[in-house]
Each structure stands twice: as C-alpha cells, then as structure tokens.
C-alpha cells in the first residue's frame, strides 16, 4: 500500500486528537505502521484543531505535517466558515463531514464528499454529542482503511479506565459503520 494520510478537523475539547490516536491504534491492530499527532497551536476550548494519522504497511519515515491527505474528517461543520477543510487535498481525496446537510449544501460541490449525521447517532447511543470516536465507525465503512474489529480493540484499549464510555463508543461506531456501509 502507499502511505495514507488522514486529517481531522475539530474544535478544542471535541476530541480530534483522541480520534487520530484511536485510529492509529486500530491501524496497528490491523498490522500496520502508523503515526498520530496533533497540529499544536494555542489550545483553547472551541478553537479549531487539526490532528493527523498516517498509515502504511512499513515504517513511516516522513515526519513533517500532513499537507495533502487522502481523507479528511470534519467533526464540526460550523468550522467550515473559518477553516478551509479542502486545502491541499489530493484529487481523489474523500471528505467525511458530520452533518445532516448534503455535501453541496455544505459548499463541497466538486469534491468527493460524504455527509453523515454523527451527532444524531452519538446523542441516541451515548446520550451526549461525543462524535470523535463514533466518526471512526463511518470512516471504517467508507474507506476500508481500518477494520471494525481493530477499531473496537483500540477503543477498549484507549478507554480501559473510563467505565462504560468504551462500550457506548463501540456501539456508536457500530451503528455508524452499518449506516455508512451503503455509502461506500
């Protein structure tokens, strides 16, 4: 495989950094090599945050920021008023947006973009708008870059000390995985 790069857009406190880490741990469980790291700015709750995951089947040498990701995940669509989530995108890159609006309504006409209402599922399953891990269920189904089994394992690992959070996130992932499967 060629090196795959994923860029997460979220807001401070929304867990985009954790998303990138859980995706990296999941990729590892699939036997891959991986890197996950944040683009650290001045961190404040609510401020736009970017985080990245790299996945390859061999050791990853490059250590610069991610400039032309194959996948973009937008956890909060309201970010798009201030942040260009399409910057540097490869021609065939996929943008996954957490929204109940269509990609063209979101101004993403001309891009390979898919919207899915992650917040709705998170509210139904978790009872809170925790979208960062749930989004990975949709990502797994739409891209096939990571298996749902590996994702479950990674969630268990990352949230081992957080009681039922792991179970709820896994369930939200499963629901979104099923929902997104038809959207591949």
């Amino acid at each position: 495989m060629v090196l795959k790069e994923v860029r997460f857009h979220g807001r401070g406190g929304q867990g985009a950094v954790t998303s990138s880490q859980v995706l990296a741990i999941a990729a590892f469980h699939d036997g891959k090599f991986t890197q996950a790291f944040p683009n650290f700015g001045v961190e404040r709750t609510g401020a736009p945050v970017e985080s990245y995951t790299r996945i390859d089947d061999k050791h990853i040498n490059v250590r610069s920021h991610v400039y032309s990701p194959a996948y973009v995940i937008v956890l909060d669509p309201s970010l798009m008023a201030n942040v260009d989530v399409t910057k540097g995108l490869k021609k065939d890159a996929l943008i996954i947006v957490n929204s109940n609006k269509t990609p063209s309504e979101l101004g993403l006409k001309g891009f390979d973009a898919k919207s899915i209402d992650i917040t709705k599922v998170a509210l139904e399953v978790i009872g809170k708008p925790f979208v960062n891990i749930a989004a990975l269920g949709a990502f797994a189904a739409m891209t096939g870059e990571v298996s749902i089994e590996a994702l479950n394992k990674a969630i268990d690992e990352r949230f081992a000390e957080k009681g039922k959070i792991a179970g709820l996130n896994k369930e939200a992932c499963r629901v979104l995985y099923e929902k997104a499967k038809g959207m591949k």
Binding site: S20, A36, F37, N61, V62, S64
Partner: protein, 378 residues
Amino acid sequence: MKTVIEASEAVALGAKLSRVKVCPMYPITPSTHIPERISDYIFDGEMDAEMIHVESEHSAASALIGSILTGARSFTATSSNGFELMYEILPILSGMRLPAVMAVANRAVAGPINIWNDHSDAVSARDQGWVQFYVESSQECIDTIIQCYKIAEDKNVQMPVMMCLDGFSLTHVFENVDIPEQKQVDSFLPPFKREDILDVKNPKTFGPIGLPDSFMNFKKQQQDAMINAIDVIKKANLDYKKLFGRGYGDGLIELYKMDDAEYAILAMGTICGTAKAKAEELRAKGKKVGVIRLRSYRPFPVEALKKAFKKLTRLAVLDRHISLGSDGPLFTEINAIAPGLDVFGYIAGLGGRDVTLDHMESVYLDLETGKQKREWLM
C-alpha cells in the same frame, strides 16, 4: 511487546525499564508528559522510584547531584527555558563526573516566546560536558534512554548524557513501539553501583574547588572521557542490537542509502526521517542521494563522519539552531573536518517552522546543480 504509544511515554518507559530510583522533575511544555507518565508508574506501584517535586529546573539538576551521590540511578527531563535555568548545574554534573541521564524535549528558547521545536536549547549547551544524542523515533527513545545509562555509568566515561528528542514533532507523536522486556533490559544494564557515596558515617567532600594547578587537569580528564565515549557508544549500540535486534547505525551516525550516494543531507533528529522519505523518492528516479543522521553530537564522531563523506560530491548540513552572528553550529563544525568537500549550510525549522518534503527536494536540487539557492529554509 508491540504497541502504539506516544514518544514521551517511550521515554518514561525507558527510565522505568532502566530501574531509575530518583526523578527530580519540573514540568515544562513539551516535556511535561514525561514526568506525568513517571508519576503514573510510581503511583500505580509499577516503578520503585521517588519523584522529587522540585520548585525549578535549577533545583531539578541540583537534586540530581545529591541523588547520584547517594548511589541512586537518577533521571530528569526538561525543555527550552527550563533547560536554560538548569544551565549553571550542567557543567557541575559533568565536572563531578556524575552519570545523570536527562531527556531534552527540544524547544526553541524565548524570545519571542515559542513553545515549538528547534535545537537551540540543547545545541547551545554542547560545551558543557554532556554526551548528547539526537533521536528520530519513539522506538529510538526507549532504546536510547536504556543505552544512556550504560554509557554514562561506564567506568571509562562517567559523564552525564542527554537524549534530545524533538518537541511535539516527536514528543507528541503516537507510533509503533516494541517495548523491551524488563528481564532483557536487566541483562543489558546491571544495577548502578558507586563506590564514593554520601555517607554520614564516612563523611567526604564532593565537588571542592579546583585551583589553577589542578583545574586544567580535570578538564583534560573530562575530554579524555568524552573521547572514550565514542567506543563505549558503539559498543552499547552493538550489544543492544545483539540482545534486542535493533541498532542505530554504528551508534554515532546512521547512514541511509549512502553506499553509492553522490549527494547527501546531514542533520539531527526527526527531520532526518523526512529527508529519508525524500531520498527514497528520488532514488526511485535514479538520483544517487542519501542521508547522514548524526546521532551523537557530543562526542563529535570525526572519524565516522569523515568515512561517510569519502565518496560524496556535495553535502548539505541542516541546522535547527543558529549561532547568531556566525552560522549553523553543525555546519561550521562539519566544515572544519571536511576541508576538501563542498558543503552547503542551511538553517531550518526554527521555532516549529515545519521542514517539509519540498524543502528536502530543494536542498537535493541545490546539491545536484551545485548552486545553493536558499540558505534559510523558510
């Protein structure tokens, strides 16, 4: 055990596996995750050590003197201005020949205030008698911390060692790491034993004055110890490789695609990974390019470097620090040992400015054309 962890945790695990007993630490971004993890290990009963919550980095370094003199293997970590606050104590630790080990999460020094990565903190302390390693990956972090104690405590060295890892660019990266088994680490690194210790029943003076009739002799002994460290570093790397299957070049420098290289980039730390990625890409296009990663900045491995330069047409040196009013310190030093070689110097990645694949391509292009276009990789 293979897993995915943050490089900061790899550093902390390195200290834990080395059976460190005392950790005087003061948090500063981006090194803070290291004392946080060590606190966790101690609290959870996984690490039999004492964390001293000192009131400053100056005290952290001072406490290392006391703890090592009681015979306890000791560890600390810092960054940037915290490192600068330690500065007074750094040459005292080396002058007293105390085998301290410190992780430096490299960060620019203020001002302007900047929390991001460059090498201006540690490189500016190159003359303070510490062995200095610059690492590239999380795996290398865990492996190198363990090796640091082996080198520092060697009877022919007995000098403090700092392992420098790029702040954020490495400290905050989660990646694949194979955590060594404690039993194997124990067989590589025996317990720390010190004959001369602080003992109330047998009082001694440590760190007395060195008058003009002896001070210079002490310095000569330190210099000899640093030169001895060259072979000790090589041996530690080799012995470690035999046990764990992993090595980093000859321990001093790591060569990437250098067998028939005509043009090479020489640098320290994570940007070497990015240079390797570009070299791999250019190799596929038939370009004879390579990377020399300097792992041991102090001692400066003159012979190993000279050997690596032999077949080169041109060399680019990337400094992540500038000696204001002069040039990149690494560039200056490489020039001094390679009089016949065409060496281009670049200042790169100051204060977190990203060093990209495009930068590396422009440097390789400069080397090929023989015309240096951008001395500062902005």
